[in-house]
């Protein structure tokens, strides 16, 4: 029996055999799926819908962020300094703040200059002079860097400004920008929660499909074990089936997202034209699409891996 296989040379080299086996299984598992097109398609469709939903929301959020980037210049932070801060100290603070990465532009409204202007504009010159002391503080105006994808950054900058000991109050002039950013932040988190839940749903769908697949192929698994198929060999087709579900689901999800965005685009364009804006909806970029497919592949593979781990060992020849 030691020389059972007199013709060892006919066997491929171990590495080549491994490659051949994988390729063979990859194609065979696709073949098995196409033999039951209806049920395979349903699984793929469920995966696609579950992934297209968060992907679509992600695209819309991205677009909303892009719209708000146009308000870059209109967002301005006014920093009112304390009364006893001298011009020299104010200049020093300005130099310091200029170095912050979230600060785009910074300038100072000197309090003497402000008072002069105020007098000129208001016509209350005499009344104000009778106050004696200049009631106005030095004010720094800051144009922050606006990154709509990181709305928390502006909030963070405001907090930092308010912490400076020379600062009486720093406030974002446009409350509505603040609110919008807060909303975008909430939406972003919501999408992550929804995406996570739907991701788990995809895992369960793939896992269940593979579990049924394993049950249907019980006989084949038993026979394969009996004639010396290793666990890895038996596991492989199911893992590849999961991978194909992932690929199919991801591609289909990309298609669904693009179609939905396409349907919305006309009405959005119409709306934008009413505001004299050339704004256009942007769909998933190529990289984002590939990421979607990669994520879907991961879910398919992981889902089948779980199912295989749980159910394959239950089947032993008897």
């Amino acid at each position: 029996m030691a020389k059972a296989d007199s013709n060892q040379l006919a066997k491929s080299s171990p590495f080549k055999a491994w490659g051949i086996n994988h390729l063979r299984t990859l194609i065979a598992s696709l073949g098995v799926m196409t033999r039951q097109p209806a049920s395979s398609f349903m699984t793929i469709a469920v995966i696609a819908i579950a992934l297209a939903l968060p992907a679509g929301m992600f695209v819309l959020l991205n677009n909303a962020s892009n719209v708000s980037v146009g308000w870059d210049n209109s967002a301005q932070i006014s920093v009112f300094l304390k009364h006893d801060v001298t011009e020299n100290q104010a200049n020093k603070l300005m130099d310091k703040l200029r170095l912050y990465e979230d600060v785009n532009k910074i300038s100072m409204i000197n309090k003497q200059q402000a008072l002069k202007e105020f007098k000129k504009i208001s016509g209350f010159g005499n009344a104000i002079e009778s106050l004696g002391d200049n009631p106005l503080p030095h004010v720094l105006t800051i144009q922050p860097v606006v990154d709509a994808k990181r709305p928390d950054k502006i909030r963070h900058l405001l907090k930092q400004l308010n912490k400076q000991k020379q600062v009486e109050l720093a406030q974002l002039d446009l409350q509505w920008v603040k609110r919008l950013f807060a909303m975008l932040e909430i939406a972003q988190r919501a999408i992550w929660v929804i995406a996570s839940l739907l991701g788990i749903a995809v895992l369960l769908v793939v896992g269940n499909t593979i579990r049924l697949d394993i049950q249907n192929r019980r006989e084949e698994i038993e026979v394969t074990k009996l004639i010396g198929g290793t666990d890895a060999f038996i596991r492989r087709p199911f893992l590849y089936t999961g991978l194909w579900y992932g690929i199919g689901g991801g591609l289909f999800a990309w298609l669904l997202t693009s179609l939905s965005i396409g349907l919305l685009d006309n009405s959005v364009e119409h709306l934008a034209s009413l505001y004299n804006s050339g704004f256009q909806l942007k769909g998933l970029s190529f990289t984002e699409g590939l990421n979607l497919i990669a994520f879907s592949c991961f879910l398919g593979l992981f889902g089948s891996w779980i199912a295989v781990g749980r159910h394959l060992s239950e089947i032993e020849p008897s």
């Binding site: 030691a2 066997k11 080549k16 086996n21 009996l226 004639i227 060999f233």
Partner: protein, 226 residues
């Protein structure tokens, strides 16, 4: 090749299917395993194929003590055994060719080599013209022969058959047994479980008999340590 040394097998539930069985089947020999239904024939074959494990005693296959074989190693032991079942265990969702090719695919043979070997194997069982057929379209005897072709296609050193003629008429049964004898002629060790005493007598190979799990008759020389 196969050495049983005081082997007992107790199934969960307490039934002792084999009790203190000892015998030795030398390499290149062919023997029949007989006994009434429930005597423990299938159990004995399952122990050799590592489908079941002994409760007591030692079982040595080709110099390897099977109790020392881990579950991970089982597939590699089985690749040197051709197993034939009464109920064929064919896969009905693929052709005869694909059924017979399975052991070669598992072992990672090249495509061309697989074709050659599968046809040689089908030729030996007289089914060369059926390679593209679905197993379900074949007669019982033909299906059994496909099972045999699958068991020998990778040229194992040992053939185990459990009631291979169970469902066949006497004429076909004899043909199948003669087929096994031909494999034995080229050096394959063969052990066949069967309760067809009349046929076994005709074939004239050594017989090992079980009775309620006990060895009741043994033509194989226990002292032969070949």
């Amino acid at each position: 090749m196969i050495r049983f040394d005081n082997v007992s097998k107790r199934y969960p539930g307490g039934h002792e299917a084999l009790s203190n069985v000892s015998f030795h089947l030398p390499r290149g020999e062919m023997a029949y395993l007989t006994g009434h239904s429930g005597a423990g024939k299938s159990t004995l074959l399952k122990l050799i194929a590592l489908i079941e494990r002994p409760s007591r005693g030692n079982l040595v296959l080709d110099g390897v003590n099977l109790s020392s074989v881990s579950n991970r190693k089982i597939p590699y032991i089985r690749r040197n055994i051709g197993i034939i079942f009464q109920n064929h265990h064919l896969l009905y969702d693929r052709t005869v060719f694909d059924n017979v090719a399975l052991p070669l695919i598992i072992a990672g043979y090249q495509h061309k080599e697989i074709g050659k070997r599968v046809r040689a194997s089908l030729d030996q069982v007289g089914l060369l013209n059926k390679e593209k057929s679905a197993p379900i379209t074949l007669s019982g005897g033909e299906q059994q022969r496909v099972g045999i072709a699958r068991a020998i296609v990778h040229k194992p050193g040992l053939l185990l058959a459990d009631e291979p003629t169970g469902n066949l008429d006497p004429e076909l049964s004899k043909e199948i047994m003669q087929l096994f004898a031909r494999f034995n002629d080229v050096g394959v060790t063969v052990l066949i479980a069967s309760h067809d005493l009349k046929l076994i007598k005709e074939m004239g190979s050594p017989v090992v008999s079980l009775n309620k799990g006990l060895l009741s008759h043994n033509d194989l020389d226990l002292t032969n340590h070949g």
